[in-house]
Point group: C2
Chain length 425, copies 2
């Protein structure tokens, strides 16, 4: 029991340098080797090998692994044994676990392995997750998005879009694919000049500005991140769209009024399962009953699963990635909405994340200099792990179009979505 | 209580001629008028008026109704009061309730009213519904589909397609719209020559023959209706497709083998909620894990509701129209499938039903001569009521495309679905 307790991860993990850990390590005991065999069994399908701090492979290590996890000390080993979802990220960031081989290939293999062996830790963690009230939502958003616009500008596209892009053609640049996504959303909503739109969770405002600029609609865009709102307002001024776009630094639950369209891209993941009823009521009261429509774009699952514990602790506090069934039965159904259209863009997100990773690696020295090594390693793992999750089908990316039950839908066939666009020439 | 009990509907309703009912009717009591006020209140939103057998409107009747229900006797009135979902159909078919005005407008108005005031009868009836074992499934199918090919040929399209058509262009004929639907299904499945397909519930074989003829795939098509299978086999011989299409008179649960694609159009409604796990297992074991995909086309709901009691008794025994959430969480999720694409074709079904109604009316004399007046009125109401249900958003029509979790999906964007088709020139 004392061994198990010692794996409890503190909020601030120790940060010995990777090499020094190896030298300091105590000798490997028979018990260590038994734990290593358990961990190895859970990841061998990958196949990923496990190596301990004495340089020896764990019992049952695959003969031709795509790569190895090199465990630097006993604490990292016990973390992997008792709570791998949380501890892999913690220990990798701290340099106590290193990867031999390509990080991306190893996490892709682990992701396949994890899909085959869901951990009961994940479910327990979900039960302990609390609902996000407005104050918690604000803290969670600030945790992630107030890292500084300069940080995100190093590796996002020119329009600062931090959600899945859309690649209608091979070889598109990230900038082009993000603009293609913005326009796809507008076409799915069939926006018409002069209409009103409310956006819940607008990031740096790229979609709001695209809608206002290319589709001549009036937009109210909500977001809790002060850093992002300052950037968005400055860009609206610069593009002369101030009269059509209002950026409001507030929670989605504070939305008032009715609109021709409701849109939310990449916010639902942050809402948290227990606040679905609140989002449902917002959707119900903001969309005009006659001719109104909405779009939700979010990271989802095939079956209900909590978000990876490490991602939830370090990257997205309060996050939950729901199934299509949860979104339709807990948000859209109770809001009186009919689902018109669903598209799964999973592989588009894998491609987006690959492009982010490339740009993040290109900016590695600057990221390390400003945020430090542990931060750099955490984000490196987060981007590689997320790409793996979408590549292997562990996560999905859904866009749902909906309209009030019984109202006239915005399109009768989807053919029009694939014809004219209003992309900038 | 004795009044309530007397509304229990026998399997064979009395069939007095409409006119004679009016003459035979007893006088209208205060209690009758009180019941009439209750019924009127539940349908006044329509607005539909209620008139009793003394020629007087019910208390609270709307001043400008779109039409009236003329109730011929006390038993019909009590049926409407205690179990409207079942009894409206029974009494209309028997001529004990007549409609003043256009049947289609009145049932559309009632459908809106019903959407606003869901009846607890529906839920109770659902609880009593039993799972469809193979023998029950066979009886249910025979009830509906063995009415005779000649009957359906009077009003279906040339290819005998008894599911929602697809109207990519205005003013399409029923024949063209059904062929457009068959081809849309093939494009969504991205069928390639030489692949294998299993179809669960193939009707008169139109889709199986389209897939084999235009996409050069090999098809095993299952159906429990002997009448339909004879028709389908004859057509396969006639079109020289016998070597590519095998029509099998058996239950979907008897499907064996693995296939590149699984498709089921208009069968899920007959499966029944309690057999969803059986269908899930069939899907799981028949679709190839690598590159396989499937499509379900079915009548669905925004929120869980049992099928109308009369429709279930007279038209589709054993039927249940599920929500998207039920299908994804109870069938596709447990089968290890990822949802790739969902399209709601509700208004296409309203148009299909309108065209069926027109053709049915044109064949009214022949239908009456062969099947009798009660049958004719029951089908007239069923077609009009179904059109109203889709028109008003009371029912939805979903097509879902899915593939095994983590496998490569059949398309990266949907643009290709809206380009080339292999429609007959």
């Amino acid at each position: 029991m004392s061994s198990a307790r010692s794996t409890g991860v503190s909020d601030r993990a120790d940060l010995p340098l990777p090499q020094s850990v190896v030298h300091k390590a105590s000798s490997v005991t028979r018990l260590d080797r038994w734990f290593a065999a358990q961990v190895q069994r859970s990841i061998a399908d990958g196949p990923v090998g496990l190596e301990l701090w004495d340089g020896q492979p764990a019992p049952g290590a695959p003969s031709r692994p795509v790569g190895d996890l090199v465990v630097g000390d006993r604490r990292a080993l016990l973390g992997l044994a008792f709570n791998p979802d949380l501890y892999l990220g913690e220990a990798y960031s701290a340099g106590r676990i290193r990867v031999r081989g390509t990080l991306k290939e190893v996490v892709t293999a682990l992701s396949r392995s994890s899909a085959a062996n869901p951990s009961w830790w994940e479910r327990a963690a979900d039960l302990l997750a609390r609902a996000n009230d407005v104050a918690a939502a604000r803290r969670n958003v600030q945790h992630h998005y107030d890292l500084g616009n300069d940080f995100y500008a190093m590796w996002l596209d020119a329009d600062m879009v931090y959600t899945c892009a859309y690649y209608p053609e091979d070889g598109m640049t990230l900038d082009a694919a993000q603009r293609a996504k913005l326009d796809l959303v507008c076409r799915k909503l069939q926006l018409r000049g002069g209409e009103t739109v409310v956006e819940a969770g607008c990031g740096w405002g790229a979609l709001a500005l695209h809608m206002a600029g290319k589709y001549a609609v009036r937009v109210k865009a909500f977001n809790l991140s002060g850093e992002q709102m300052r950037w968005a307002r400055e860009r609206a001024r610069h593009e002369g769209l101030e009269s059509r776009v209002e950026f409001i630094e507030d929670d989605y639950r504070q939305v008032t009024g009715t609109y021709d369209a409701f849109v939310s891209v990449g916010m639902l993941e942050h809402v948290g399962h227990r606040s679905f009823d609140a989002l449902s009521r917002v959707i119900q009261r903001t969309i005009k009953r006659d001719g109104g429509r909405g779009l939700l774009h979010f990271i989802g699952r095939d079956v209900p699963r909590p978000l990876n514990a490490w991602i939830r602790r370090r990257i997205f506090p309060g996050g939950y990635t729901p199934t299509l069934a949860e979104v339709t039965s807990e948000i859209l159904g109770p809001a009186g909405m009919s689902v018109l259209d669903v598209e799964n863009l999973r592989l588009h997100y894998a491609r987006t994340l690959a492009q982010w990773s490339e740009r993040f690696e290109a900016a590695a020295d600057r990221v390390r200099a400003i945020q430090g090594e542990e931060f750099y390693r955490a984000w490196e793992l987060y981007l590689a792990g997320s790409e793996a999750a979408f590549r292997t089908g562990w996560m999905q990316l859904f866009q749902i179009v909906f309209s009030p039950n019984g109202s006239t839908p915005p399109f009768l066939t989807r053919a029009a979505l694939y014809q004219a666009s209003r992309m900038a020439p």
